[in-house]
Amino acid sequence: MTRISLSVNGRPTSADVAPRTHLADFLREQLLLTGTHLGCEHGICGACTVEIDGEIARSCITYAVACDGARVRTIEGFDDDPMMTRLRQAFTQEHALQCGYCTPGMLIAARDLLRRKGGLGRNEIRIEMSGNLCRCTGYTGIINAIGAVMAETGVRQHAPASKSGWRGPAPGPEAGTCDAAELKGPPHAYQDAPAQTRPLSAASTRRPIKVTVGRLETIEGRTSLTQSFVLPYQRDAVWRILSNPVEVAGCMPGMVLDGPPLDGRATGRMEVRLGPIVASFAGEGTYERFDEDHRQVIEGKGSDRRSGSRASGRVEYQLLSTTLDGAGATEVQTRISYVLTGPLAQFSRSGLVRDLVARIGEMFAEAVDARLSGKHGPSARTTHLSAFRLMLRIITARILARFRSFQKKISH
């Protein structure tokens, strides 16, 4: 728990909050100010709109702990406000509410619009108010009500809500009496001039290998695609690496085997830590090699305990002799297919997946190339970084798809 002090509707308040408690929950459950409503709880619907230091904000994605030292104003704090009184009358006259769920947020956003702008047309008011969703009225009454009040107030000059001149999110550095977090220790001596340079990772010293990715197909939830790359080594040399499951796993970004494979089976995990998201696919795999064709088939499945997602996939690759700049070389042709279920599954954007597979393919090809050239294989740090990038891409698809599907759902 962290102690915070803030002003709510003009009254100084101190409370202990868990950092994860968002402002709306704090207002509703600790201060019993239930006029602030929670709709979507992830910043889409606008029902939880309040004012923080005079500017409107979504209280469901602002954490109470971050409001230490701020002035918060909820719908309960507008009872005596003349503009709000007039808006309430207009909402009543124009039938701008039915169930009332969106109304507190709608009123606070509308009042803020009237404070900042005047003389807007209906369409402009609609655009300005588009961050607040109403499922009853079809918005007509709401736009009428705001338009009516705006016609009375005329064109206004936008006055900044905050006189402090702070340009960042409220409340800024001037606010806050108790800054417990800072007490963890004084900031160490920080120098702007580079005291030393960051050590280069193994990955940054590798030479780039071009990977070609074919068209992506999804049939009954199974996505498949092809990719290929050429390594400037003889086929037998490349096969020595690519026929060995331990070597293959070692070149795969983020992959760790539990132990040496036995009887064509191996267990391991794809462990990744990426900025905001940590995921670890644990599972098992089988492999089957066909030496005469220089071909190998690897199948695996695993699950990420944290997100509850599951993945299964199949990778088949074959080595073909070719030439590169007149010298003997090897083309690695790969066919990949996979099924992903659970929260990570929203892999709807083909461009992202192609990009991802090309990226994984490049990192893999560069690692194999580094092994063949006698340079060091991937270090732990490299694996980590590669995994980081790789997972970010997976997450991208998931987050974007999720946000967008949610927004579509909510706006239809």
């Binding site: 968002h22 961050g131 606010a175 891409r393 998931r398």
Partner: protein, 268 residues
């Protein structure tokens, strides 16, 4: 829709933030939280520590030079929208800020947070790419300056190390002869853009920059354009060549966004 538990720290200095980030590799920087907040609530992100950088005075500063303006990372979209910072692009930044999400998001969402998150659909990435801005990054080994095209590596993928902090963006000033257009296509106002087009024509600086944003990865810079007047005709071929041809709808919507941006610039 409740975030999992995390620790919270609120450093007063850039150095303090970097120290915290160095100590906890899975710490996450919290600026305005307008993207991270939803991610935390949806439990997509489960960091052990949030480092709130909004109390670091230096990060909301503005530095104006004869040929550039450097904007601190925690400057909000609303501050740009309201004209509370100088606009090196003669109104383009203000125009872009005004169209980001909704006012209640713009009051807390920050320029630096948007760039560091690197969602291809985000407005600032495309806008600053067209302006050839430079990202200023602070880390344990000092500061480095990275051109925005090198900074973004792909969707949600940047060159930031876990112990680094994006502190500012340095934006070159356009000349008085500059004209620009910006257009984004969204299903719903304020939602993520499906396509973004940016056109900047500055005879004073001798540049014609066209950018197609909100792709699957980095914004596409349409190169080889000498005259804005003649640009619209070759956009489709250029975007096709840049790899946007996989999906006919995606191609056409990006062509439309860039063409409308060009039309906007020509009408200016």
């Amino acid at each position: 829709m409740k975030a999992v538990a995390f620790d919270y720290a609120r450093p007063r200095t850039v150095g303090g933030a970097i120290r915290l980030l160095s100590e906890k590799p899975d710490a996450k920087i919290l600026a305005g939280g307008q993207t991270l907040g939803p991610m935390l609530n949806l439990r997509l992100a489960q960091p052990s520590l949030l480092v709130d950088i909004t109390r670091i005075a230096e990060l909301a500063e503005v530095e104006e030079a004869p040929d550039s303006v450097t904007l601190g990372a925690t400057i909000t979209h609303a501050a740009v929208e309201d004209g509370r910072v100088p606009d090196p692009a003669r109104g383009l930044l203000q125009l872009v800020a005004n169209g980001i999400a909704y006012r209640a998001v713009r009051t807390r969402g920050t320029i630096g947070g948007s760039l560091a998150h690197a969602d291809p659909s985000a407005d600032w990435l495309s806008c600053f790419t067209a302006l050839e801005a430079t990202v200023v990054i602070a880390g344990p080994f000092g500061r480095r300056y990275v051109p925005i095209m090198e900074f973004m590596r792909g969707a949600l993928d940047t060159g930031l190390e876990h112990d680094e902090l994006l502190v500012a963006i340095k934006v070159p000033k356009l000349s008085t002869r500059a004209r620009y257009g910006y257009h984004k296509i969204c299903r719903k106002t304020g939602e993520f853009a499906e396509a973004i087009g940016v056109a900047v024509d500055d005879p004073g600086l001798g540049i014609v920059r066209l950018v197609a944003g909100s792709t699957q990865g980095r914004p596409i810079v349409v190169d080889g354009i000498e005259r804005l007047e003649a640009a619209a005709d070759c956009i489709e071929a250029k975007l096709l060549a840049a790899g946007l041809g996989d999906d006919a709808y995606e191609l056409s919507i990006h062509v439309a966004a860039v063409k409308r941006a060009i039309a906007g610039a020509l009408a200016a």
